[in-house]
């Protein structure tokens, strides 16, 4: 091949790669722009202040779904974060690099990507079917199941970044191991762990599949976690599939709120990591 054709070939390949990058950017702008444009025009105070009107009647809002989503996510965080945090601590601090540690780490990595729909059917079988009714608790537990492996793996990674010399210094002062972990190691890794928790909240806040058969949905305002509780994501699913324009409008508005919430958390998490660990 002559030098000229080689240069042209190279230039062509680089142009194609740049185009691929632009395609990725194009989808992001297309989707986000669409959600922002259609959502922004539908956001009204009554969306947050009112409950849904009976089917087919114009007006109303999604107050029930906002509150429900908040409750379900809050309890999922309360269940999932401590388990993930302590589990990650065990792997990083007690278990060393042995076989069991590697197996649990690998299993968590796999569980991070396991279909969340399957988690929904699992929780249905153990929490909804035996009791005979949908419940907010079941929704929270389903989300917590999705959350645990995420928190566990980030905690493990962040704790492993804390230098051993720091632990040794604390041991040398006579501190028992649990004190070393809770008062020295946790402090060193706090930013990373906190970010991991933030990102795991962002991850589950947009989940729909695990809630479909667990917390289900509810057209009325309810904070009773023992019964079905409305969530934003399931409401978007129902409203978007529904026949009314008014519903579609509200679904777009809810989509905008949830997207902005999740993107904001993701960006904040990134900034924390950057401030603490430099360019990574």
């Amino acid at each position: 091949m002559s030098e000229r054709t080689r240069k042209i070939e190279s230039a062509l390949a680089l142009v194609l790669s740049t185009l691929a990058a632009l395609v990725g950017l194009f989808w992001l702008v297309f989707i986000l722009g669409d959600v922002i444009m259609k959502g922004a025009s539908a956001i009204t105070p009554s969306l947050f202040l009112h409950n849904p009107t009976p089917e087919g009647v114009e007006g109303g809002g999604l107050k029930n779904a906002f509150v429900g989503q908040g409750l379900i996510t809050l309890f999922a965080t309360l269940f999932g974060v401590p388990i993930g945090l302590l589990g990650g601590t065990f792997l990083a601090e007690y278990a060393g690099h042995g076989k069991v540690t590697r197996m649990i780490s690998a299993l968590s990595d796999i569980m991070i990507s396991v279909p969340t729909m399957v988690v929904g059917t699992f929780i249905y079988a153990v929490m909804v079917k035996p009791l005979g009714h949908f419940s907010g608790w079941a929704g929270s537990v389903a989300l917590a199941v999705v959350m645990v492996p995420v928190v566990l793996r980030t905690t493990e990674n962040m704790l492993r970044l804390v230098p051993w010399t720091l632990r040794e210094a604390a041991f040398a002062l006579g501190a028992p191991k649990y004190k070393v972990i809770t008062q020295v190691v946790y402090r060193g890794a706090i930013t990373g762990i906190f970010t991991g928790v933030l990102l795991s909240i962002a991850r589950v806040a947009g989940e729909t599949a695990p809630l479909l058969f667990t917390s289900f949905s509810n057209n009325f305002f309810s904070t009773d976690m023992k019964g079905p509780v409305a969530s934003l994501t399931v409401t978007i699913f129902q409203y978007a599939m529904g026949p009314y324009d008014d519903w579609h409008q509200q679904a777009w508005a809810a989509a905008l709120v949830i997207t902005l919430f999740i993107l904001a958390i993701t960006i904040v998490g990134r900034i924390f990591i950057k401030l603490r660990y430099g360019n990574k």
Partner: protein, 312 residues
């Protein structure tokens, strides 16, 4: 010398160990419960007969997984086919082309694409992409590629926008960021000195990518592709809106279909009858096993390249 042993130490260790074991318990629990719940269907339809049967008839209570598996596999592979070139292009752009002031912001943009929840993809697909596909892109495809022999058969039928092609396209957009970020990480593992030697031999940038970086990182890129397959396999909400839940094995990409996840989302709460519900658990079990196998394979591949996947 022995440390002063505090009983709190023992308690803390046991509590953290129990927390770590929860992962194993959840995993085993899912497997056990799904098998238990699908037992009636396993007894009624067997294993191979169930997998290869195209029946999905709630009235006669006769069920098979073939149509669901068909939809799942077609959308998954097609989405990867569409996503792979773009993802690798993005990875090349990020590692070799982009000036350093662009790398950060562009990386964030791709990460944003991964952070958008799947329900948003689904809704956008239903209201924006699907009409666009049905009215413009699919008729155009039909008039160009659809005229070719052999391949043409994939583009038959009335373009409605609610079909395998639209669903696969949405899935591919979702999968691009995962594949791209793993491919980028794999590319970055190529030692600079190997690349520099190639440049010193007079190789062009593309030749370095093609002959040095890609061979060096192929395991990682392949692992990323398998991981993306695993992700696409279990995706629910992004495809639930635009696939039509049609229990048939079809020839054209312009036909509606059903995946395991879409069937579950649409029929689970309405399933009446023990066998019906049990069959739904059965396909959930198949999905669980399938994605576990794929993700384990991806894990092993990525482990070999010495780079762990980023927990998001």
């Amino acid at each position: 010398m022995k440390f002063k042993y505090s009983p709190m130490d023992w308690v803390f260790k046991v509590v953290t160990a129990a927390a770590a074991l929860t992962i194993v318990v959840i995993f085993a629990g899912i497997l056990f419960v799904l098998i238990r719940e699908s037992k009636p269907a396993i007894q009624a339809f067997g294993v191979f007969k169930f997998i290869f049967s195209t029946d999905w008839d709630p009235v006669k209570e006769s069920f098979g997984a073939a149509t669901n598996l068909f939809g799942t596999l077609v959308t998954t592979f097609l989405s990867l086919l569409l996503a792979m070139p773009v993802a690798i292009g993005i990875a090349i752009f990020l590692t070799e082309i982009a000036p350093s002031f662009l790398k950060g912001p562009f990386g964030v943009a791709i990460e944003m694409l991964a952070a958008i929840p799947s329900i948003i993809y689904g809704m956008w697909g239903l209201f924006t992409l699907s009409p666009l596909m049905g009215n413009h892109i699919e008729p155009w495809l039909q008039n160009t590629i659809g005229k070719l022999p052999l391949i043409g058969i994939l583009f038959q039928g009335t373009p409605m926008g609610v079909d395998l092609l639209t669903a696969s396209l949405i899935l591919s957009i979702m999968v691009i960021p995962f594949t791209a970020s793993i491919a980028r990480d794999a590319f970055q593992l190529t030692p600079a000195i190997v690349k520099e030697s190639a440049y010193a031999m007079g190789a062009t940038k593309w030749e370095v990518v093609k002959n040095v970086v890609l061979p060096y990182s192929k395991l990682g890129v392949f692992g990323g592709a398998v991981l993306s397959l695993g992700r696409a396999l279990g995706e629910t909400m992004a495809v639930a809106f635009v696939l039509g839940n049609n229990h048939q094995i079809t020839k054209s990409l312009f036909d509606a279909a059903a995946t395991i996840t879409v069937t579950l989302a649409n029929e689970f709460t309405e399933a009446s009858g023990r066998i019906y519900l049990s069959s739904l658990f059965y396909i959930a079990l198949l999905l669980f096993v399938l994605s576990f196998v794929l993700l384990t394979a991806a894990k092993l591949l990525l482990f070999k390249t010495g780079k762990q996947e980023n927990p998001r």
